[in-house]
Symmetry: C2
Subunit: 415 residues, 2 copies
Amino acid sequence: MNNLQDKALKDRALKVVPNGMFGHLSVKMQSPRTPQYYKRAKGAYLWDYDDNCYIDYMCAFGPNLFGYAHEEIDAAYIEQLRKVDTATGPSARMIELAEAYADQVSHCDWTMFCKNGTDATTMALMTARAYRGKRKILLATGAYHGATKWCTPMPEGTLPEDRAHHIYYEYNNPNSLRTAAEEAGDDLAGIFATPFKHEVIYPQQLPNAAYAHLARKLCDEKDAMLILDDVRAGFRLDRDCSWESIGVRPDLSSWGKTLANGHALSCLMGSDRAKEAAGKIFVTGSFWSGAAAMAAGLKTLEIIKTTDYIERTVSLGNRLRDGLAQVAKDTGVPMDQTGPAQMPLIMINDEDGNRNLSACMAFCDALLDHGVFFHPFHNMFITPAMSEDDIDRTIEACHEVAKLLPSMSLPEIAF
Amino acid sequence: MNNLQDKALKDRALKVVPNGMFGHLSVKMQSPRTPQYYKRAKGAYLWDYDDNCYIDYMCAFGPNLFGYAHEEIDAAYIEQLRKVDTATGPSARMIELAEAYADQVSHCDWTMFCKNGTDATTMALMTARAYRGKRKILLATGAYHGATKWCTPMPEGTLPEDRAHHIYYEYNNPNSLRTAAEEAGDDLAGIFATPFKHEVIYPQQLPNAAYAHLARKLCDEKDAMLILDDVRAGFRLDRDCSWESIGVRPDLSSWGKTLANGHALSCLMGSDRAKEAAGKIFVTGSFWSGAAAMAAGLKTLEIIKTTDYIERTVSLGNRLRDGLAQVAKDTGVPMDQTGPAQMPLIMINDEDGNRNLSACMAFCDALLDHGVFFHPFHNMFITPAMSEDDIDRTIEACHEVAKLLPSMSLPEIAF
């Protein structure tokens, strides 16, 4: 694998972008050969500037739901762009999409559109506080709810006051949640939850029903808002809100990523109970009314409703999971596979069960030579644009690499 | 003017969007006939769903720099969309655009791209605090720097802690700024300023040099960051940062709105002095790396650099200003015109010099019948896509409406 062009771009970028790149797309915590820039994307594939082609298991960290450069969705975007996009008011696409979500998502009666997942989680937080003027927000320790002052995982540039009246609980632990709610007392504004525990590095956990139902019950008892942060998982696990299958409906849910298959669109959905409070907060953005992304959202939703994309994604994800379990067995490399089939976290452990980040890094680095892009410590994403052959090629590549892993010199990890 | 279709859309929207619409695009504080939805936009014109066509003096509240549905810019967007847009990494367009801004904007050495103006002001705030670990931020009372927890103009859903360590000063008042800086003492992280005073309703003020130079001097003395919030005015007043013409260079500047002529793109630009601090904060968004908006940004910048668009915009703005001054003289309606020619605030006063919001509302409402969209209390925007004939038709319409104003029954204003 040649990476001269990508290396040259990284060097150029260092001059005009802090650290060359920032945020979740930065590859500075991956192997030095990991490509940072892409010149083409189609379906499940990415091409870097050295013309290497990868089966992309990151799917843009979520947005690539049905395949890159999706012809129908992009055609809907372009058709709307030619009529009206960002203007002095929205187009009727906004109403149509809000109506469509109210039809599709059980707890949803209304929608407010925005551009970042963080916009949607921030609007949820503000709405919860505006609802009864209460202040305390319960959040699971370590859960990612975006990257602005009040929620970024890194403290630099933030103040303790940015997280005032946050109370933390342990995900999936009803006792911990109950204790946090008691601490909030009469001042409980809302409870945040991700649909499953999807932090980097740590084993992913599906939600346990007792925890999820308790969150709902506490919000009912204390007249607070249950907020499901479905930004990362929304429409990947379910055609409805991600907790619908366990019978728990939030008051507010935050969405983004998949809504328009890569076009910039996110939103806060809510129930009628939360509507007056949502109508009180003042939030806005220069491009939030852009009609082209909403037209793409309508087309994306049509495909969500009319195809077997989830079933196909699960089937592909299980094919990968089963194949890798066999690789682990055959090669003796301890692979820890957690999370739902559509969003697997695949990590290599030591024999004592601890994460071996050096091995994860070396493993993903070696896969690049096989045209497979894996992430060493973040959950990955399966797209139905992948073929069975893509999955089988991936398993084969993992087998080749796992066989060699014991003899590889592993990189030192600085974090 | 028929508005049956728009009325029907407003009624539909009330069911699925809080208040039917939210944020700065909501027309709920304008006359009831004011259209909320648009089905087409081209050049300087908007068409509502009742097929009324308006010369649009709001330009999407800024983004419409060169005309709606701009063929070259949209072609650049679509061409890039077909290659790669939102993916697992950015494309080379990100580096090219950051390099182009470093060439074009005097204080800029680097850029971080995002999606909202508020993202860019929040990143500026966090960078200023990350720079030396200091906390105090000076802001002009009433200045708009976005709409999230720490800066939204409405308190609902926010806490006093969201504005911890903010100190307010009076825009254009060096004594007030100096007092605020003294209050910050050794804990001054940064000073925010808009390029001119552009609040709603109040007369706009161009910056006075003593104030702007003092802001720079205080930041130098106290090793703090001067932040210019150029989201609304950037590339409308100047082909450089908006304070370049008065000889004041910020450390950080926030941009959005015009950068890609309506495509969703904003950014934080900074000098090398601020680069290490900017590299420490963790901020990100699902679509911030989208290459299509950056390709549109490159084409927009090319037009900024190679055409006389500012000179033409100023000429059109002055033609409107002069014409309206004559209308005021001829009709005796006291019009207060403030702000730069490109971004005028035009309001009607009482004879005693106080704002007459009812008259502003009635005036803008009546202009709708003439196919002219004015805003009753927010600064407006001129685009070079307007023709001299558009301006002259507008002046004529204003003349007709102003003549009738004394005999109109004025609406009561609830805010």
